[in-house]
């Protein structure tokens, strides 16, 4: 009896755009389920937007004095009257970048620690979907965080948002590629360097020192100001303050938005290239399974 022969002409999984999208959807669904499974984030969502800026706001209040004499100096330096809104927006952008560095930056590393990265890596799908899919629920939670922050600032800190909601949304849209591009780049570095907490401290520290979260950049010494100009968060904070607190309109933030578009393109490209480099390196050295 003749033995039947089976000839495989293609791979069992045929990767195409639709399978990549299905994989992306599956990763997003999984991450969303994990996110909902640990509801302690609800407490953080409501408490942190108030308590983190509060410390700087109260320090600013002490600096302004009982008679508000320091305030005139601050107003001359910033051109704004609402120092609470000024600080609240700066610190909120810092918190956004900080959370993205920890969550998106460590998403692949966490998967590695859970022991599921290697098996996922073997599936015939678009691997960047793991990173992109992990970021989507994170982005949604951060948009909720930004919305809750704005409501709480108005209710509890008395911030008066005189600007335009549309310009605020436009600024958020322009900020997303830079903030998340940096997160993607980070994720690849973390999976290579393993214990990379120090990198997070370094990047978030730079944002805190150089990007003017509580003060105008013009206060920085001359040698520090060019460094601030090379960090996208400087422009995000500047544009967001103008969009939310002033009535200066689109023309006041147009310059910042253009620069953010360039930064966004740069960081998304760097993030994608670093991911591909890490992926090739991981396959060559077997680093995916190493702790």
């Amino acid at each position: 009896m003749a033995t039947p022969t089976i000839t495989l002409t293609g791979s069992l999984g045929r990767a195409n755009v639709f399978t990549a999208l299905r994989a992306l959807g599956a990763v997003m669904k999984r991450e969303w389920m994990i996110f909902l499974r640990y509801p302690s984030w609800v407490i953080s969502l409501f408490i942190w937007p108030i308590i983190f800026p509060l410390s700087y706001v109260l320090t600013a209040q002490a600096l302004s004095g009982r008679d508000g004499s320091g305030m005139a100096q601050f107003q001359a330096a910033t051109g704004l009257h609402d120092y609470i809104g000024y600080i609240a927006i700066g610190t909120t952008i810092w918190m956004w970048q900080n959370v993205v560095l920890w969550n998106v930056g460590f998403s692949l590393r966490n998967e590695q620690l859970r022991g599921t990265l290697e098996s996922n890596w073997l599936s015939p799908t678009w691997r960047f979907a793991y990173l992109l899919g992990s970021s989507a629920p994170q982005l949604l939670s951060m948009l909720m965080f930004l919305a809750v922050s704005a409501i709480e600032f108005a209710l509890f800190l008395g911030v008066r948002f005189q600007g335009s909601l549309w310009l605020v949304l436009l600024t958020i849209l322009a900020a997303i590629p830079s903030v998340y591009g940096l997160g993607f780049a980070f994720a690849s570095v973390v999976i290579t360097a393993k214990e990379a907490n120090a990198f997070v401290f370094l990047v978030r520290g730079m944002v805190m020192i150089f990007c003017g979260i509580t003060f105008p950049i013009s206060i920085l010494p001359g040698w520090m100001q060019p460094i601030a100009a090379w960090l996208p968060q400087t422009y995000i904070i500047d544009a967001m303050r103008s969009a939310a607190l002033s009535t200066n309109g689109l023309s006041a933030i147009a310059g910042d938005l253009k620069i953010l578009a360039l930064f966004g393109l740069f960081w998304l490209t760097v993030g994608y290239l670093l991911f591909n480099w890490m992926e090739r390196r991981a396959r060559r050295t077997g680093a995916i399974g190493q702790y």
Partner: protein, 284 residues
């Protein structure tokens, strides 16, 4: 065969030896990762930079005159650096002491340590001593680094300030006994610890004079003994305005010290008994 002899005879000397072993083990473990110490020393520079530059935006000719109206000194950076140094101890108690037993549990040595014939509180006392020494060393490093970068100019009596800080720290570590027990019971308490440490630092005025707080929040600051400890230390070292007379603040701190040592131990033993009854000591 019947024997009246126990294999181990706990005595004061054996307790001291156990205490020394715990301190030595924690000390070795801490310095095994020296980058942590470097990070503790340099991290405050990052946190203090926005305050430093913000202070400049509020100052006229380098003088924070508005700040002086609340605190009695225009040297806002010395005021805030001292607060950050003392805040370092608060963080050390919340994170280091709070997680002392939980870390043992995660490392899988909790149950075996619990079976040794020593008072269980001794395990925490040993950890407190190392935590206190290590935090004192890193805080001193932090003070030097921040002083060099931002400027720290004490004008008062250093030893008197240290004398006021000591009962506050002992009381704080007494609170740590209770907190460690609560974390042991809760197991996953990161959010609680993170927020509690941050809120205690805000309300005890590590970053600003508490008189800045709105009237409805000020009572929270005034019921925290740490507020008086930080206030007295600033009053003695920087000659700032104080909430009460320094003598009264130190007396309050001494009461706080004894109260927290007693309350911390009491809560620890209660939770420990509860955990033993439930049998959750080995559960994660």
């Amino acid at each position: 065969m019947k024997s009246d002899l126990l294999l181990s005879q706990p005595t004061n000397a054996s307790h001291l030896r156990a205490l020394f072993a715990i301190v030595r083990k924690d000390w070795k473990q801490y310095w095994r990762y020296p980058l942590n110490a470097v990070s503790t020393v340099f991290q405050p520079v990052i946190w203090l930079a926005p305050v430093y530059f913000m202070g400049k935006a509020f100052s006229v000719n380098g003088q924070a005159l508005g700040f002086a109206q609340y605190s009695g000194t225009s040297d806002f950076m010395s005021f805030i650096i001292l607060g950050a140094v003392l805040g370092n101890f608060i963080n050390a108690v919340f994170w280091g002491m709070g997680y002392a037993l939980k870390n043992d549990m995660d490392a899988g040595v909790m149950e075996s340590n619990w079976l040794t014939p020593i008072p269980r509180l001794l395990i925490l006392i040993g950890r407190s001593l190392t935590n206190l020494f290590v935090t004192a060393i890193t805080s001193l490093g932090m003070l030097v680094v921040c002083g060099l970068i931002f400027g720290f100019r004490p004008t008062g009596d250093v030893w008197a300030a240290v004398g006021a800080i000591v009962p506050m720290l002992i009381g704080l570590y007494g609170f740590g006994f209770a907190f460690a027990a609560v974390v042991l019971r809760m197991r996953e308490a990161n959010t609680m610890v993170d927020m509690s440490a941050f809120l205690v630092q805000i309300f005890s005025g590590t970053d600003f004079p508490v008189t800045v707080l709105p009237k409805w929040l000020l009572p929270i600051a005034l019921i925290l003994p740490l507020t008086y400890g930080i206030d007295a230390a600033r009053g003695l070292l920087l000659r700032t305005n104080t909430l009460l007379s320094i003598g009264l603040e130190v007396a309050l701190l001494i009461v706080f010290m004894f109260l927290m040592l007693w309350l911390g131990s009491w809560i620890f033993y209660r939770v420990e008994r509860r955990v033993r009854t439930l049998g959750t000591l080995g559960q994660h």
